[in-house]
């Protein structure tokens, strides 16, 4: 694939993927595991989770979320994976943090044998956090 075509695919993938991901996160969390590879890794605010089943379990346990994405960027990797970086705000429905918080999330998507793209790496961080730890 030419460099230009690669970049275009990358952008398209990023646009589609991030909408799909946050839609599932906010509205149908029980299906979010499907987006991950079996051996994917998730780092959620410093909590390391490995494997699709564990990741799915971890995400189900989070409170109901409401996400607004304000920035999306993507780059192709050398092995034709795609790196997507989003930033925005998320509100989790829980009494100890019921307000919009800034976050940044990095995904690395890899192509599977069936030509679909799945998440191999997911790193989520709340940024601009005032509380320590």
């Amino acid at each position: 694939m030419s460099k230009a075509a690669e970049i275009v695919t990358c952008i398209e993938t990023a646009e589609t993927f991030h909408k799909l991901f946050y839609e599932k996160l906010d509205k149908s969390r029980q299906t979010i595991g499907k987006l991950y590879l079996d051996n994917a890794t998730l780092t959620w605010n410093g909590n390391a989770v490995k494997g699709k089943a564990e990741i799915s379990g971890f995400l189900q346990k989070l409170p109901i979320s409401h996400t607004n994405v304000y920035s999306v960027d993507a780059q192709p990797l050398m092995d034709s994976s795609i790196m997507i970086v989003t930033t925005g705000t998320v509100k989790f429905q829980s009494t100890n943090s019921n307000r919009d918080q800034d976050f940044s999330q990095t995904f690395v998507l890899k192509k599977t044998d069936t030509k679909t793209m799945k998440v191999s790496f997911d790193c989520f961080r709340l940024i601009n956090k005032i509380e320590s730890g």
Binding site: I11, Y70, S71, V108
Partner: protein, 561 residues
């Protein structure tokens, strides 16, 4: 209310206009008016006493001259008026006269006297006596003593029923709507937390605005009686519910509002406004039906510091790599050429920003309202940038271009205590590292998240960046304050879980020293070399010679001469 004539118009205090109309526009009314009760005999008035005093009220006192007015009154009435306690109540002139002859004579003039084109209308009502003119403090002291008599500590109740008719308040203008501020102050001073019940009955209250100050002062109020008042609008009840959301007992008996609403609607409406109410008017409310639909408390997992999911050696290598990277980056605009050793030949770089408003920060120094120009020129955020050419052109390709771009960016100072790094391995030992934190860019603070994809270089046990994505958002004011209050925050080491820098044993230090002498490289470079050689000195030196001959050792590895 006086019986001298029927009809007439009643003003706010219950005074009636004896004249029954005049050129200023009052309509004449039919003689029979069932709204006003007739009381037989004498001047008993509301007070049931036979005081001969009358209070005369003249509206719009600002429109005429007082002395002039009284002179005219004397002339036209031919009576010895002898007005007492003349004073102004807001824009009304009031005074008292002692006998009904004087009063009659005065009232005959209502609608007939004109001063400066303004027709004077007079109102009269029976009064127990001239109201004393009390100073603010005197009034407060007086009311305080009355309230003390009406407060029950045991019941936590304040009885304000028929307040202005209290025997100790004769001669003082003390209707609740007039002095509610004073009562509010007294409650705040003396019993703000302990007062739980107030009886407001029989105070001619037309709306809750009058008693707002009292209600807001009693923070723990749970029982209110508004019986026998003149509340007539639902919106008033809403105001009440805002002031007293925790009411458990409420009585609105004998208020027109209740009559306006049908029974069932009334209860439902009241319930909506006062969710904790269990007693309304005379009766306990039926219990509210609830479903157990309250969600269990779901907490967020605790935030943890940096996660570095790597074996110890690569981990150390990575830490060193970033220390160096940040050090060079913070060297300032134009001084970052050395970063060429950090990037892979075929690397990619892009920046994405979002600069959303945040209350409390805008416009302050270092917290600009608009996205800084250098960022907006390079911004590749797909949400903002929709043109395909820009999306393509703003992805910087190739080491030379990338380093040049990074070098062009303004000065930065990474605030070490804000930094956090998350890393993990991808396939082929590639590593992702996400660095987050706050950077001080002289003209503004920025919060950032920077994702690096790194490819390992076994020979130097270091890395090369293949992908660099920088996302910038506006910083939070409070966060910066907190960060900067930590001492020593100017050095640029990212905080990691566990010990900061790996310590070396004296033997290891000695080894590093020897390698340093032999190779003339920086300490860090020596450590890298030794690590690659698994701690073996000879192997390290051999490796060094090999790499030096092949020209593989980066210039910055060497100590400056």
């Amino acid at each position: 209310v006086s019986t001298q004539s029927t009809g007439g118009n009643m003003d706010r205090d219950g005074d009636t206009d004896m004249g029954g109309g005049g050129p200023s526009g009052y309509q004449s009314r039919p003689r029979y008016n069932p709204g006003y009760h007739r009381r037989p005999g004498g001047n008993k008035g509301k007070f049931g006493n036979n005081s001969a005093w009358w209070k005369i009220v003249v509206h719009e006192a600002q429109k005429f001259d007082q002395t002039h007015f009284f002179r005219m009154l004397d002339q036209t009435t031919n009576e010895n008026i002898d007005p007492k306690n003349i004073k102004l109540e807001k824009n009304k002139l009031v005074f008292w006269v002692k006998n009904h002859r004087a009063k009659d004579a005065i009232m005959k003039q209502s609608g007939k006297l004109t001063l400066k084109d303004h027709t004077i209308n007079l109102f009269a009502r029976p009064s127990p006596g001239p109201e004393s003119e009390l100073s603010g403090d005197q009034l407060k002291a007086k009311i305080c003593s009355v309230l003390e008599g009406r407060y029950s500590v045991v019941d936590k109740k304040l009885d304000l029923s028929e307040f202005n008719r209290d025997k100790d308040l004769v001669g003082i203008r003390a209707q609740l709507f007039v002095i509610s501020n004073v009562i509010g102050e007294l409650i705040t001073e003396k019993c703000a937390d302990s007062l739980e019940e107030i009886d407001f009955s029989r105070n001619m209250l037309k709306h809750t605005g009058c008693i707002r100050s009292i209600l807001s002062a009693a923070k723990n109020i749970t029982r209110v009686s508004l019986e026998y008042n003149m509340m007539n609008s639902e919106s008033d009840l809403k105001a009440l519910s805002e002031h007293c959301p925790n009411l458990t007992h409420l009585s609105l008996k004998e208020n027109p509002a209740k009559k306006l609403m049908e029974e069932a609607k009334y209860i439902a409406g009241i319930r909506r406004l006062f969710p904790k109410l269990i007693h309304l008017d005379d009766l306990p409310l039926p219990e509210k039906i609830t479903f157990e639909d309250e969600e269990d408390e779901v907490k967020l997992p605790a935030t943890k510091q940096s996660t570095i999911l790597l074996e110890p050696l690569p981990r150390q290598a990575l830490e060193r790599f970033f220390l160096k990277y940040i050090e060079i980056h913070d060297g300032g605009k134009g001084n970052r050429a050395d970063l060429v050793h950090a990037y892979h030949e075929k690397c990619l770089f892009s920046i994405a920003c979002s600069w959303r408003t945040r209350s409390g920060n805008e416009g302050k120094p270092k917290f600009p309202i608009k996205m800084p120009l250098e960022l907006s020129k390079k911004n590749r955020n797909f949400r903002h940038i929709t043109k395909a050419e820009l999306r393509e052109s703003r992805l910087i390709v190739g080491r030379d271009k990338v380093v040049s771009e990074v070098n062009e960016m303004g000065d930065t100072k990474h605030i070490s205590h804000s930094l956090c790094i998350d890393t993990s391995t991808l396939e082929d030992n590639f590593v992702t590292a996400v660095l987050t934190g706050v950077v001080d860019c002289q003209t503004e603070y920025r919060s950032f998240s920077r994702t690096f994809i790194l490819c390992p270089v076994p020979e130097t046990s270091s890395y090369l960046i293949t992908n660099d994505q920088l996302s910038v958002i506006r910083t939070d004011n409070d966060l910066v304050k907190k960060i900067e209050s930590v001492p020593g925050s100017s050095s640029a080491a990212p905080s990691t879980s566990g010990a900061a820098t790996p310590g070396y044993t004296p033997e290891q230090e000695a080894l590093i020293g020897r390698v340093g002498v032999a190779t003339k490289m920086t300490r860090e470079a020596c450590i890298q070399l030794l690590t690659a050689a698994q701690g073996d000195y000879n192997q390290a030196i051999a490796k060094f010679a090999e790499m030096k001959n092949a020209g593989q050792i980066p210039a910055n590895f060497f100590l400056s001469a």
